[in-house]
């Protein structure tokens, strides 16, 4: 009798320990997702960004125009309304690329245009949480906010004109060269930011559209355009 009771008590205690273990495991996964991946990604993005800036400096101002280095990164995204400083932009939107704490421009399912192209849609994706969380504050963007893309010799100044707070992940229409869903019907120079929503999950996608307002030549001191000087 006592032995049977001991066995039951043992089984209950093992079951309890398994539950505690599962809880600790999930807690650790949250720590990993929301903190550790940011540490790794910010470190990696910083390293890659430095390399891009070094290569720009090494080439000097005399190098030909439009010399976009698509290998490592093509430039930096500055969004004052999101805070958090500059975001390196690289080619591709696979997890391997985005997990380095960068924004990627789409090659699939619809290839992105580049800012220097006479018209088209510059489509970008980045993480909302973890892995640098570069688009974490995308919901703070309002119409008229500036999105500035910096290349070696040009500042591209875009202005937000439309946000779509929730759409299906299958909605590739948002990436079209002329994003009809944003209300535009004529070809132009657009920028599209995509990330997941709601925060901490990826049930839907959050879309922000902007349109090129003007470009500025980068001067010798790399003086940022006025939109970036205010912050």
């Amino acid at each position: 009798m006592a032995r049977a009771r001991n066995r039951i008590a043992g089984a209950v205690s093992v079951f309890g320990e398994l539950l505690i273990t599962a809880g600790v495991l999930m807690g650790l996964f949250v720590v990993y997702s929301l903190w550790w991946t940011n540490v790794l990604a910010d470190r990696e993005a910083g390293r890659q960004g430095d390399r891009v800036r070094d290569s720009w400096a090494a080439e000097g101002p005399a190098a030909g125009p439009g010399a976009l280095d698509t290998g490592e990164g093509i430039g930096f995204l500055h969004v004052p309304a999101m805070g958090g400083g500059e975001v390196l932009v690289r080619k591709g939107t696979t997890p391997e690329i985005l997990n380095d704490g960068v924004a990627g421009y789409y090659t699939d399912p619809l290839a992105s245009a580049l800012p220097k192209d006479p018209q088209g849609n510059f489509t970008l994706a980045a993480h909302r949480d973890g892995h640098g969380a570069k688009f974490h504050n995308i919901h703070k963007l309002r119409d008229g906010d500036a999105i500035v893309f910096e290349t070696r010799d040009t500042w591209f100044v875009y202005k937000v004109y439309k946000t779509l707070p929730e759409t299906s992940k299958y909605n590739t229409e948002v990436l079209r060269p002329v994003p009809k869903e944003s209300g535009r019907t004529a070809p132009g120079r657009y920028i599209t930011l995509t990330t997941c929503t709601p925060v901490y999950t990826s049930d839907y996608r959050y879309i922000v559209w902007g349109e090129l307002e003007r470009t500025e030549k980068v001067d010798a001191d790399r003086t940022p355009p006025e939109e970036l000087r205010a912050s």
Partner: protein, 53 residues
């Protein structure tokens, strides 16, 4: 389960506590380095792109 591990560790209570700590850190290391990076893409928290799939 944990009691069983504790009873099978050598040394006195201090040595056992130290070994337990090292074991726990080793488990955390394996989780962060191998298990979580493997599990993450399988969980629906971090897909940020729109695509047709």
């Amino acid at each position: 389960m944990y009691g069983w591990i504790w009873r099978h560790l050598p040394g006195n209570a201090w040595v056992r506590a130290l070994i337990s700590l090292v074991l726990a850190l080793a488990v955390v290391y394996v989780l962060f380095q191998y298990v979580f990076p493997w599990a993450e893409p399988l969980l629906p928290f971090n897909d940020v792109t729109v695509d047709g799939q």
